[in-house]
């Protein structure tokens, strides 16, 4: 379903965000993508979404390959991929319901089928009463749930969720996770990027891919042992904590 073949991604002004990553996610598989802030999680998801082109290597999603895909095929791909963006990306001038409806209109869904489906999705994420609110009128967690509902709307082949519970309380997080599990049970591959250790601990059976500084350092399905909790990244915060001056 999703295959990364020695994928490297350089960003113009900041260097390597992903280095020589290879992995394969099967149809109906559920994967946690984890790693510290700046490790490259979002980069991986954006590569799957073909929002980014790999600098080297190849990304394959279903029948689409990053090396051969053509401009007009991109919308076809994206309609099969639900993406809960880390920064939500809601249309500011559309209400919560319209944001979700838009994703359905894009797929050419039957107009009469859209409205009930949107209301059902909003209900699933606990926002039925906020259907006609604009994003600016929603709380952070509510916005996140609209983004989740939109990603689920098109019954995608692949669901990408980027820190989808960062603004949700524990109970809402659990509910969202269950929604993902249900979708997954129906055959959707799910990649969930998260730092939420509670979530990871609670689902020890789930496959985990761990990134660190752009390298894939751990894959629970392969035989590579999980490395000791590593060194780089946010060390400076710890230097401070260990006794730096106050700001």
């Amino acid at each position: 379903m999703i295959r990364f073949r020695n994928v490297t991604k350089h960003y113009p002004r900041s260097g390597t965000a992903l280095a020589d990553a290879s992995f394969h996610v099967r149809k109906a598989e559920f994967v946690f993508l984890t790693g510290p802030s700046g490790a490259g999680k979002t980069t991986v998801l954006r590569l799957v979404h073909m929002e980014l082109a790999p600098t080297e290597g190849e990304v394959i999603i279903s029948r689409f390959s990053s090396t051969r895909i053509r401009r007009r095929e991109i919308p076809q791909l994206r309609r099969r991929v639900g993406f809960v963006f880390q920064d939500f990306r809601l249309l500011e001038r559309f209400t919560a319901a319209e944001n979700i409806a838009f994703a359905l209109q894009v797929t050419g869904a039957n107009r009469s089928a859209i409205r009930p489906k949107v209301m059902r999705l909003l209900d699933h994420v606990g926002l039925a009463s906020r259907a006609s609110a604009f994003p600016a009128e929603l709380s952070g967690g509510e916005r996140q749930r609209v983004a989740i509902a939109r990603a689920l709307a098109t019954d995608p082949l692949v669901l990408l969720a980027d820190e989808p519970t960062g603004n949700l309380d524990e109970r809402a997080s659990l509910g969202v996770f269950e929604l993902f599990k249900q979708l997954n049970a129906l055959g959707t591959a799910v990649i969930l990027a998260t730092h939420d250790t509670t979530l990871l601990r609670r689902h020890p059976e789930t496959r985990v891919l761990e990134l660190e500084d752009g390298r894939l350092v751990y894959d629970s399905r392969s035989d590579v042992p999980k490395p000791p909790h590593a060194s780089s990244g946010d060390s400076s915060i710890f230097e401070l904590v260990r006794g730096g001056p106050a700001p």
Partner: protein, 287 residues
């Protein structure tokens, strides 16, 4: 229809952006309206002056009825000629007495009418330039019964020069105005769509095709353009009334121009919107 419904929703929900871009479009098209008003009136004034271009052929007194009829019909068949008017000796004398007060004193006294009969020849519009006038005059003076041909060469030359200058200026100044108006509409539509680049990017992210994204914007461009055209018409009409009352009687624009202006505004708004949206699309890969 989705595009129009969405366009209207979007116009209503972004009132500031919509108002600013319709304002800018109206003002841009108003420039054309003002220029059109001025150009139309100057052109009509020049045409009115040019209508007075005529060639007068003085006839010998010896000419008889049949000869006169022949000459008239032959000259009337020249390709440049619009009409040939016969002025008899008596009419000439009568006209002269009305126009010249001094002459009128002596009018009853004259025994012999000293004025010749004449043919007054008008040329077709577009054939009133010095060259055509000259050609016709030369051909006419070839007739035996025509004594003398007059057409005021200076006058014809001067009108022609004026026409050329006015035409050239209108072409360059008016062309510039039209271009400026188009570019201004383009720039403001571009700007208002640039202000929505995030929105467009999100639509792309969700899997909308270029066409699907574009359609409501096209409808919005069309609506704004038509509205801008209508407001521009109102402004132009205001300027027309002001001119008409405060300065002199002026002519209002031909209906065709008005229709063309408003429709042009709509089409221009739509095309600009289409182009602008295409430029905002990230396409295959953002980076």
């Amino acid at each position: 229809m989705r595009p129009f419904r969405e366009a209207l929703i979007s116009l209503v929900r972004r009132p500031m952006l919509a108002a600013l871009s319709v304002t800018a479009i109206s003002l841009s098209l108003f420039i054309l309206g003002l220029f059109g008003l001025t150009a139309h009136n100057i052109s009509r004034a020049l045409a009115a002056v040019e209508e007075k271009v005529e060639i007068v052929a003085y006839l010998r007194d010896e000419i008889d009825e049949a000869q006169l009829r022949l000459v008239r019909s032959e000259i009337g068949a020249f390709p440049e000629v619009e009409s040939v008017e016969y002025v008899s000796k008596t009419e000439a004398l009568y006209n002269a007495s009305r126009e010249l007060a001094e002459f009128s004193d002596v009018f009853p006294d004259v025994e012999v009418n000293p004025l010749p009969a004449s043919l007054e020849v008008r040329l077709l519009p577009g054939r009133r330039d010095p060259q055509s006038v000259g050609t016709v005059a030369v051909r006419m003076s070839g007739y035996d019964f025509i004594d003398d041909v007059r057409f005021g060469r200076d006058w014809v030359d001067r009108i022609h020069t004026l026409r050329r200058i006015a035409g050239g200026t209108a072409l360059i100044v008016g062309g510039s105005f039209a271009l400026v108006a188009m570019l201004l509409v383009g720039a403001t539509v571009r700007m208002s769509i640039h202000a929505r680049s995030t929105e467009i990017a999100i639509m792309e992210n969700v899997g909308a095709t270029a066409g699907f994204i574009q359609r409501p914007f096209l409808a919005e461009g069309l609506i704004s353009g038509l509205a801008g055209g209508a407001f521009a018409l109102a402004l132009t009409f205001g300027a027309y009334r002001l001119l008409d009352r405060a300065v002199m009687a002026v002519l209002w624009l031909p209906d065709l121009w008005i229709a063309a202006g408003i429709l042009g505004g709509g089409v221009l708004g739509m095309l600009s919107a289409g182009r602008s949206v295409r430029q905002e699309l990230k396409g295959l890969y953002a980076i």
